[in-house]
């Protein structure tokens, strides 16, 4: 799988993502500076976590206007696969490649802790490594992860199976108003969503930080294994 990772000024989880991709796919991804204007030949573009442009103004807002984003938009239009994690998810909503927006966490504090994610739709390239209803652990680390969208958008996301991951308890219980189950207060406990064609995926937590048995656990591995299966076949 040929993957590229986009680096904006202030991106800080590009190495983590590269490590995960290398570990699981065996190939080091290409690092793409935000000033570049061509993606080259890629199967997957990843927008990693961090604080692009300091996350000043709104998280992801300035990165959404970086030169490379025009090319990423074309890539999406051609049906390319794009994964945005954390700040990458925020960049995708700010550039309208995914609907909705990510507001300040409901508790108004940055959260860095493990959370549990429930796989809602296991038929996508991003989720096929799991079964629907599976629950896995992932670290989260963000101040603005509180997903919101208009009622119509939320309804469409639900109706079209475009909610990829939802926050839950370790046993898979979903409860929107309980901070233990839904730490940042996201609408409908949404942690990750898909584009209409299912090829653009954004999620807040960091599966890439849980892929190495030496660091604790491998809960994040199915995401990357599934992508390899889907995109290299």
């Amino acid at each position: 799988m040929k993957a590229g990772i986009v680096v904006f000024p202030g991106t800080n989880r590009e190495r983590d993502m590269a490590h995960a991709l290398k570990l699981i796919t065996g190939h080091a991804p290409r690092m793409i500076w935000h000033h570049e204007t061509s993606l080259g030949d890629l199967d997957l573009v990843v927008l990693p976590g961090g604080f692009s442009f300091g996350d000043y103004l709104r998280s992801g807002a300035m990165a959404a206007h970086s030169p490379i984003m025009a090319e990423i938009r074309r890539f999406a239009e051609k049906g390319g696969h794009i994964l945005g994690v954390c700040n990458g998810f925020q960049v995708l909503t700010e550039s309208h490649l995914l609907p909705g927006a990510l507001l300040r966490n409901a508790g108004l504090r940055f959260l860095s802790q493990d959370c549990h994610l429930k796989v809602e739709n296991a038929t996508t390239p991003y989720t096929r490594g799991w079964k629907s209803g599976d629950v896995f652990r992932a670290p989260l680390a963000h101040g603005d992860g509180n997903y919101t969208a208009s009622p119509e958008t939320l309804q469409r996301l639900e109706g079209e199976g475009r909610v990829a991951f939802r926050y839950s308890t370790a046993s898979g219980h979903v409860s929107h108003d309980d901070r233990h189950a839904n730490p940042n207060g996201s609408a409908l406990s949404i942690a990750g969503i898909l584009s209409e064609n299912g090829r653009v995926c954004g999620l807040m937590p960091h599966p890439e930080n849980l892929v190495d048995p030496e660091i604790g656990a491998t809960d994040g591995v199915p995401l990357f294994k599934g992508l390899v299966e889907a995109l290299v076949a």
Partner: protein
């Protein structure tokens, strides 16, 4: 020309920060406050010949970057 771009959360979008501030003000003894909203203003000095040109520029900047129209409204005024 100095302009001010006000960016505010759309009505109906929850403003947890405003809520928290309302709460804190209340416990400081400021009672009977209605809804509290915290918004952002961006103060800029734009090269423009007249107010309407300056405002048009402010609006263009708001649309392009300063506001996220999914969740925010904006308005622009000339301050000097």
């Amino acid at each position: 020309m100095k302009i001010r771009v006000y960016v505010s959360l759309k009505e109906g979008v929850l403003d947890p920060q405003g809520k928290a501030i309302g709460h804190a003000l209340n416990s400081l003894g400021f009672q009977g406050l209605g809804e509290v909203r915290v918004n952002r203003v961006v103060d800029l000095d734009v090269p423009a010949d007249d107010s309407s040109a300056a405002i048009a520029k402010g609006e263009a900047m708001a649309r392009a970057l300063l506001a996220n129209e999914v969740i925010e409204d904006y308005s622009v005024e000339v301050v000097a």
